[in-house]
Each structure stands twice: as C-alpha cells, then as structure tokens.
Symmetry: C2
Subunit: 347 residues, 2 copies
C-alpha cells in the first residue's frame, strides 16, 4: 500500500462537494470551462481544506517537474550569493523551483552534479562552468553563464567593457602606470577583464600584469605581492580582476604604509558584499546579476517550452552580453586633476 499523503487531494474535494475531479481540476487551474459560481465554490472549499496540489501527480501527468538546476563551479565562490539569489528570484518568478548542485573540484564532479540533477528530473539547468571548461550538452536544455568569449555561452556580463571602464576611470584620475592583478591566467573571465583594461589605456599609460597563482607557486601561499615596492617603482594604480584580489592588494598596501587613495588607487570587479564597507571603499565594476539571471532563466524557459524538457540543447539568448556598471567609490587619486569631479556613491 502506497504511503498515504495526509493532505486532501482533488478526489477528496470532489466527493465532498459532489462534483467530479475533472471539474475540480479545471476550476482550480482556471483553464476549465466551469461556471464561475461553481469554480468559486470549489476554490473556497479547496483553500478551506488547505489543499496543496501534488507536484508528483502533476509532474507525472504533464512530464514537467517545474524545477530547474543550478550548477556552480564552486559554491564557496564569493560571487555565488548574489548569483544564486538572482537565479532563485528569476526562477521563482517564472514558476520554477531551483535545485542546487555543487561541482566542487574537478570536471568529473561537475558531470556527476549534472547527472544528479537530471535524475531529479530538472527541466533545464543553468551552469556556471569551471574555468575554461566546456559543457558537453546534458540531456536537457542548458544555459551557460560565463564570458562572451566562451563558446556556447548563453549570457554574460561584458567583462571586456567593464575593464575598459576601469581603465578610462584610471586615466581620468591621471594614472600612468597600472598594475593589473589577477588570480588565474586560465580564467576566461579574468582574461576578458584584463584585455578590456589594456584596451582602455591611453597612449601615455602602461600596464603590467601580476598573476597571483603563479607568484604563490613560486613563493608559497599567502606570500607578499610586493606592492609597496611597485609603488616605489612608480605604479600608482592597482587594478585587480576581482574584489577579492583588490582587497588583498588594499590591505597589503595599507599595512606597508601606502595611503589609499592618496598615494595609490585600488580598483576591483564584482562589487562583493564587503566592497562598500571597507575603508576606503572599493571602486569596482559590477555585473547586473539580476538582469543576467533574468535573461538566462527566460531563455532557458523559452527553450524548454519550444523543445520539450528532455532534449539536450545549448540555450541562446537575444542579448548575450550585459553591460557592467562602474561604481566609483574612490573618487580621487594620486594625480587627480583638481578640475575633474566624479559622481561618487555616497554623496
């Protein structure tokens, strides 16, 4: 005997009202050709009984689970909270639930995570791939959020343009020598951002790039980045490719007696939760997570409806590149021309 579901079901409502289940179903879904008075009575009775429709029954009948999957490369990623929140909101708005899966570690774990989601019957999924990983289509529609330069990408922030905005901002502050600080030279996102920065430098500016991962391989984890020395060499701006690196740079500079922003500027990317809170607050280029999530989910849902839930397709979106927004919180720099004024956040 199947375990009883405690709550009332359609049939209970039907018999208790002396009508058929079909009519109850129609009334509740609003699709039906049911007289308004009966429909009203049914709705009332249903809510009185605390009726909650069974997803299982519905899913079995319609073939749609009403659930999407979210696969993260590494859930501990500081960007994750905003992304997950945005995805959850967009999905809920579209009437879907969100099942999470952490593809921590290697590519194998990612594949496993994807399979788990498939087994749970997701109709489609959003994947933020591991660095430089290619998604081999799963057996359901897949939306990929990465960089525009990732093949098969569905939607992404315009990291390149974000980098360009950073460079323009630094140029206006009068900086000449920029140190770009990245973590991983293999990351598509970081490369796009760095490329954008370089492309936005004016003729009299120059940049060098420091990859922390390489440095740490040589000198050990948590080693000094040697930024104070860079200041002595003439660098006045430190453009990190993520706020996490920017924070590391900022605290190291301050520890070594470099006053920010008076002696050097520090910029980041992503507008992580603490970026506005530290002193001085970080100038940063932020993704519009809400919009990105909306586009990803909307395209995903459209594809699901067009192709059916169980076909493996890489989803494409009309807009695949969402502009990044520069948030200026350090509005002066070592060489800021006095006549320039900037829009800052807290004023």
């Amino acid at each position: 005997m199947p375990s009883a579901r405690p709550g009332p079901n359609l049939s209970r409502i039907a018999t208790s009202l002396g009508v058929s289940v079909a009519t109850v179903s129609n009334a509740l879904s609003g699709k039906g050709r049911v007289s308004e008075s009966l429909a009203e009575k049914i709705r009332e009775h249903a809510s009185e009984l605390g009726y909650v429709p069974s997803q299982a029954g519905r899913a079995l009948r319609t073939g749609r689970s009403g659930v999407l999957g979210l696969v993260l490369p590494d859930i501990a990623n500081p960007l994750f909270p905003k992304l997950a929140q945005a995805i959850e909101f967009a999905a809920t708005t579209a009437g879907y639930g969100v099942l999470i899966a952490d593809s921590r570690g290697d590519v194998a774990a990612q594949t496993e995570a994807i399979n788990r989601l498939i087994e749970r019957g997701v109709e489609g999924m959003v994947i933020v791939p591991r660095r430089a990983t290619r998604i081999s289509a799963a057996s359901c529609p897949v939306a990929v959020i990465d960089t525009a330069s990732t093949p098969g990408n569905t939607v992404a922030a315009d990291h390149w343009q974000g980098g360009r905005d950073i460079a323009t901002h630094l140029a206006e502050l009068g900086h000449k020598r920029i140190l770009i600080i990245g973590n991983n030279p293999e990351s598509n996102v970081q490369n796009d951002r760095a490329g954008g920065i370089r492309s936005g430098l004016t003729g009299d500016m120059q940049s060098t790039t420091l990859w922390i991962e390489r440095l740490e391989r040589d000198q050990g984890n948590g080693c000094s980045l040697g930024l104070a020395e860079k200041v002595r060499e003439g660098y006045t701006a430190f453009a990190a490719l993520s706020d996490l690196q920017a924070l590391r740079a900022l605290t190291e500079l301050q520890r070594d007696g470099i006053v920010v922003p008076d002696m050097a500027s520090v910029t980041g990317f992503d507008d992580l939760i603490w970026s506005p809170v530290i002193t001085p607050a970080l100038t940063t280029a932020a993704m519009d997570m809400r919009l990105i999530a909306e586009i990803a989910i909307e395209s995903l849902v459209r594809t699901i409806q067009a192709t059916g839930p169980r076909e493996g397709v890489l989803v494409t979106a009309e807009t695949d590149r969402v502009p990044m927004q520069l948030i200026v919180r350090q509005s002066s720099g070592p060489a800021a021309p006095a006549h320039l004024t900037y829009k800052t956040e807290n004023s």
Copy 2:
C-alpha cells in the same frame, strides 16, 4: 495525451527483455527476489538504454519526493556559500536533492518561501531563521540552524564558547581593553558571541561594545567607527562579532595609520573566504559547517523516516552544539609577552 517522456521507462526495458515491469523494478532497486543472473542482465540493458528512473513516478507512488528545502534569511549573506555547500553535500550523501529558497526581507517573505517549498513537495527543510525570528512549524519536519539560545533550535555552533576562546586568546596576548564590534544588538548569534567574549575576560580586562547599526542610524551609512581614537584611549584589541565587521575595523585602522597587529589586534568570527587572504590575515573563530550540516541533515532525515514527510515537527538533534575552532593568524599583539608562542596557521 500526456507529453511523452523521451527516455526509456521500466515498461520499455521489460518488453524489450521479455520480462515484467515488476521484475525490472525489483532488479534495479536490488530489493527484489530476482535471480542474480537475470538482475545482472536487466541492469546491463538498462544502463545500455540510458535508463533514468522517473522521480515523478516514484514520488507519486511512494509519497516521497527525495528533496529537501534550504531556506536562507538572506542568500546574499557572506556565510551562505559555505553553508549551502555543506548542506548540499550532506543532503546528496543522504540521497536527497536540495531546493533553495531565499526569504529575503521580512518575515512574510520567509513564510512565502516556506510555502513554495511545501508546494514543491519537499520532505523536510533546513531553515536559517531571520534574526530573532521564531519558526512556526510548517507542515513538514523542520531543522533550524541558529544559536543554541534560540528556542526550537536543532543544531548550532557554540558561539558562546567561540567568544570565550577569542577572549582567552586576547588575554594571553596581554590585551587589557577590548572593543567588541557588532552589527546588530538583536541578533541571537551576535549576542551569544559577545557574551562569550565578556565571560572569557580576566579580572584586569574590560570591554565595551559598539553596535554599528546604531552608530549608522545616528551618523549615516559608511560612517567612520572612530577606532583610531579608541586606540588613543587605550584600546588595543578589536573583537568583531563577524569577519565582515573585522574587515571594516581592520581597514579603517590601517587607513588611519594604526599598524595591525603591532599596535592593535583585530579578531573576527566565521573565517569567511577572504579572511586568510588579507594582510594581516584575520584571527577568527570558525564554525564547523560540515559537521553542523551533517547533524542537521541527519536529524532531519531521521525525523522524516520516523514521522512521515508531511507532519510538522521541529527536529531535535543529539548534539545540538558544535564547538567553534579558533584560528590564530595574528600571533602577536601590542603587548604580547615574549615567552608565549602560538600555533599559527601558515607555519
């Protein structure tokens, strides 16, 4: 006509092998009284066909969805990544999927989030309640992660003991005047931590508590905490109730020329992702998220199995208080007695 599910089902496997669906089901689930040779043949054929069992069918029949819910007070919370990762891992290990819900904002939103999960058929859920919110039992088993002093709590880190460890550590470094920095005086977690700190001070130490939320109400967002002045007043240790506040304190001190840890110590809680990365790295008391998640999920699953999925119960655990671990990264302080040595992380 119900929309066809593309993949093979039990019946397809059965007919193609000339056996009954019951036998296939039994063979695949391993429960059956099926001869090993037949079972092996069936398993082989199933995997050949790429058979993926239908959760919907199973759920409808058994009354269990195989899914748990995770309700977060504010998904953008910096603690969330570690928690979600730990929960996802524990749930996956227990054979469950995890549906997320963000109860951003008010209590009403929290209730709504809970209802959404119920509608999706979760068998139980883990809730991290909003500050000082009481969970009125939903119509399924609920495990609550908060403070031990929260009524109806299932499992929590021992925030009080964490605070005590921080105090002991500061005492050993020779600090006499401690400024405790919190965000919200209404938070159970923060109050437990602060209480622990105070309880761990020795007779010749004294502490004052600064609540940022109150300060900002008076002076505006992003206002200075005035910590440099506190240093001049004789405070040498700043014990923040979360790494986020610790970071704010650290950067403000550094900006104002206070060298950390030579002139003042800064400690935090939670070991957030950037805590080891900044300069100087933060001394902090960390929760064992893995263990907390494990206990929460295990107790939840046990309760589900005991009471059935659709009963509203507040889950209790055998161990409801998990010790916090002190991670010492600033091993010296302004007044550190030379003869003391500390275990530090990077050495």
